[in-house]
């Protein structure tokens, strides 16, 4: 018979919020009193608020654990009501994250997709060149530009309405970068249409890329099939969330 309480790491673990930082009008970063030193950029956790729901969030940092949450619905608004010292239950680390490639980094982040891209940029801090393209609808939606700069990353901004950075989607600043850095690896996280556009560009140019996809999740560990892609059964939670597409 096995020792008791083997379960502690698979079931949600209670964590206290130790710091709350407001990033913009709708995004908040939480720091917890828990560390997962083995977790890497692109991996995620499931955050449970008892009585409400459990939702996936990308790691912004592993040690201590950090996530950034954009208020868009019931869960994300509710978690933003919590104060320092209150508890959130965390399950993870889950999934397979980014695979660091030699050579320069081009990070592309849409919305709260900045979270795993920022983790990755700090992870690759010894790289010669690190660029990040941050896209958003409008200036007030842009996130983490200063954080990236403080971390020594070259930042390229773009907004749909041109209220900050270039006007247009992330492909606008991306194209010249791709041309200038033939050996750079593309790492991206953001809304599905953005990732689909990036996949198309990379396919066309025969360049590999690493894309972190979002799907509705239940188990988070490759059993329930909730997060499967129709065509090939690729599981966002277990095969991903980061898809490594060869060039």
């Amino acid at each position: 018979m096995l020792p008791a309480n083997r379960h502690s790491f698979s079931l949600p673990q209670p964590a206290h919020i130790v710091r709350i930082v407001r990033e913009n009008y709708r995004t908040v970063t939480f720091t917890f009193d828990l560390s997962w030193p083995d977790a890497g950029p692109g991996q995620f956790l499931m955050a449970w608020l008892p009585g409400l729901d459990e939702k996936p969030f990308s790691l912004l940092h592993n040690d201590p654990l950090q996530i950034s949450v954009a208020a868009v619905g019931r869960f994300s608004r509710q978690i933003q009501q919590l104060h320092s010292g209150e508890q959130v239950w965390l399950r993870g680390p889950l999934g397979h994250g980014f695979q660091s490639q030699p050579g320069p980094m081009i990070g592309i982040a849409g919305g709260y997709g900045v979270s795993p891209i920022h983790f990755l940029a700090t992870w690759l801090r010894n790289r010669r060149e690190r660029h990040v393209i941050i896209g958003a609808r409008t200036a007030r939606d842009l996130l983490f530009a200063e954080r990236f700069r403080a971390a020594g990353v070259q930042v390229h901004l773009c907004t749909d309405d041109g209220s900050a950075g270039e006007m247009g989607v992330v492909t606008v600043p991306l194209n010249p970068l791709l041309a200038a850095m033939p050996d750079a690896t593309i790492y991206a996280c953001g809304p599905t249409p953005m990732l689909e556009a990036l996949a198309a560009i990379c396919r066309e140019q025969h360049r590999g890329c690493q894309l972190s996809w979002e799907r509705y999740m239940r188990c988070g560990f490759g059993v329930c099939g909730s997060c499967a892609r129709r065509e090939d059964g690729w599981l966002a939670c277990q095969d991903g969330p980061v898809e490594i597409i060869p060039g």
Binding site: P14, R218, C224, A228, R230, G233
Partner: protein
């Protein structure tokens, strides 16, 4: 060693089949499991109307197995038929049979579900009777009494010419009685067991962790419960049994076959071994059968039954 196994006149390349509700949501995923060596695949249970299911947490690993209360989330049978048709097409070149799982909340609806799902022409229909009977005053699952189980089986029988597997719940006083009722009502095979009712509690949150409070246990912890069910059913029914519950190795599969299973369902083992779990288990089973001198799974079927 010859693994191919016939059940209800359908030929399975090996006896290891994907259990319903695990990886059974999309055609591409069913096919992926088949390519990785499964002998058959079962789709996630679907009902006439779509269902959202329960909010999360719905599926957890509690250390000795899984617990789930997905709440039978599914896109409804209209959408499911499209998934099944796509899956059929993709599975055809692999010669891996497709089992379509259905459920309903009333007996009439079971009949309708059977009629609709038959349009997709799966190789077999699995009837999941473990969901609550909303037509019944107490809301008890149909699997919990023999009359209901028989009525559901008949309704499906009358609405489809495909072979029917009736899937039983272990959460009953006497599973054999339910199995016999399903057999008498026209079931072509029995699947046993569905998950075992249980609950996990978090002491810090001071509440059950699943949004639905209770859920179904699966994985290693329930293997002995499943073996007992299959063993006792085998002594009572004449129709083949799909043995399901806690199988995560070729050895477990052989235990199930020796208890009396014709096919062996595998679900939660995917948690430990990934999508290729089923193919690996089939290979392990073949080696074990060889080592022990059996020339096929069927030659080991029921050998654990000894005189009382």
């Amino acid at each position: 060693m010859s693994l191919p196994t016939t059940c209800c006149d359908v030929l399975f390349p090996n006896p290891i089949v994907l259990a319903s509700g695990i990886l059974g949501t999309e055609a591409g995923l069913l096919t992926r499991v088949a390519r990785a060596g499964a002998g058959g695949v079962t789709s996630k249970s679907a009902s006439v109307r779509p269902r959202m299911g329960h909010p999360n947490p719905t599926v957890l690993d509690w250390g000795y197995g899984l617990i789930n209360a997905v709440g039978l989330a599914n896109p409804g049978l209209a959408a499911e038929v499209a998934i099944l048709q796509e899956a059929k097409t993709m599975l055809k070149p692999l010669n891996v049979p497709l089992i379509a799982s259905i459920f309903a909340e009333t007996i009439d609806e079971f009949g309708r579900a059977a009629a609709i799902v038959s349009r997709a022409q799966p190789d077999l229909i699995e009837v999941n009777i473990s969901c609550p009977n909303v037509g019944h005053e107490l809301g008890h699952p149909f699997a919990l009494d023999p009359e209901n189980a028989a009525a559901v089986t008949k309704a499906v029988r009358n609405n489809s010419d495909l072979p029917i597997i009736v899937k039983l719940s272990p959460n009953v006083t006497d599973i054999v009685e339910i199995g016999l009722a399903a057999e008498a009502a026209g079931a072509d095979a029995i699947a046993a067991i569905n998950s075992v009712a249980g609950m996990v509690i978090d002491i810090h949150a001071a509440r059950p962790i699943l949004a639905n409070r209770e859920g179904g246990l699966s994985g290693p912890a329930i293997k002995p419960i499943a073996l007992r069910a299959v063993y006792n059913l085998y002594e009572a029914v004449q129709i083949p049994i799909v043995g399901i519950g806690g199988v995560s190795s070729g050895r477990d599969a052989l235990e199930m076959i020796m208890a009396g299973a014709t096919l062996v369902g595998v679900g939660s083992a995917v948690r430990q071994r990934g999508v290729s779990a089923l193919g690996e288990i089939a290979t392990e089973l073949a080696h074990l059968l060889d080592d022990l001198g059996y020339d096929s799974p069927v030659s080991a079927k029921g050998v654990a039954h000894v005189a009382r």
